[in-house]
Amino acid sequence: MPFHKRILFVSFIAFIAFSLWAKENYPFSHYPMYSDPDPTAFYHYLTDAEGKPLATYAYTGKSAAQVGKIIRTRSIERAKTLGTDAKKMPQAEWDAVCRDTLAYLHAQSQSNGTPLPVRVRIMRTDIRFEGDHVSETPRVLFAE
């Protein structure tokens, strides 16, 4: 095999292996989006204390997808420090993650000049496929 092909093969394999190992470390990524499809999905959004939805982007400059990613990333980081899996974290730890996330979002909204209401809820809606239809079940994940 010509020398340039050997170099390319080795570089290609090394790049892929390193990216899978490095995971999310810009500019490297393992591109985990839509990697584990299953019969359930969920999304997050914000409401005020009465349950009225808040436009997350208008207040914080963050989309609802980004709010969900923040909660996910912070829960994984917290679980790592506790030596456990995020799905197995006690409720108190989830509350701490949500409290920190809301503190961050409050700060962002104030910095943008569009402060969030004093008391905000994080909602989580579970999406399920149930035979002939798709159901959506919202619940309060955390309330200030």
């Binding site: 340039h4 810009y26 591109y31 499809p37 208008a58 400059g61 609802a64 912070r74 999406i127 002939d132």
Partner: protein, 301 residues
Amino acid sequence: MKALAQRALDALFPLPSVSTLEAVLTRLSLAYALWYFFPLQMEQTTQPSPVGLAHWFDLTWLGDPATFQAYRTGFLVALLWYASGVALPFALPVVTVLHVLPYTLFNSQAHPHHGYQIMSLTLLGMSVAVVVQAIKKQAGWLRPSAVLNAWLLLAAQLMVGGAYLISVFSKMILSGGMWFFNSHYVALDFVKTARQNYYSTLEPALQFDPPGVVWLLNHANLARLFFGGGVLLEAVLWIAIGTRRLSLLMGVSVIVMHQSIQALMGLNFHTHEAMVAVFFINVPYWFSRLVEKPKGVVETS
């Protein structure tokens, strides 16, 4: 069988002939794309979940508006330097670092975005290629050599094709090998994305049930064929590295895939499409073909 495998290996990764005109058009296209997508401002003044270089360096200075405007000007100057083709062994690493830093800060907010890695990685791959060629004294300082132009194209294709293949590996690893079997459930993500879009702005026009979700879930095999086809395309894109006609075919297919996803899920992949258009569809090459005859492969040591 062994002979067939050998022939397949021999056909992989040909070193393409890249004319001066194609190289100039490629540099102009890439520089324009990098500038077009570069952020107008940075709103991030903290890095609560550092990634990459932010593990070691505080990049929050980029969040200062005046500083970032000066940074943008510096980036534009670096792009013009790169586009000129002069001293690429210095120009490309400078452009790469300047491109990586703001997006590192952007991705250090605990909500990683996956739109810009493909551009930074392309620059990184090209930087490695140009430095290696400079060490081998094959780069050309005032004007890039034919060998360097060929390696820059290969390096860019390798990074773009590699990025798509990494996502395929992640799908297989994170789903425990069940991705293709479960792929029809990706349809549920149409609902998720639509709701996320709505709750970001509360615009009434975004409050709708995405069409076709229940149909896809009830026709699992057709849905698997549809979603699986896209992943197979991502898995084999790298085979086109160094080719012209095959890379054109695959590049167009990838853009059709991205446009289909955009139509169904409202997710755009403009940076990916730009990189695929420049380096796989090879728009600069086909433009250069209008005025030049193609040449053979590049001889290299």
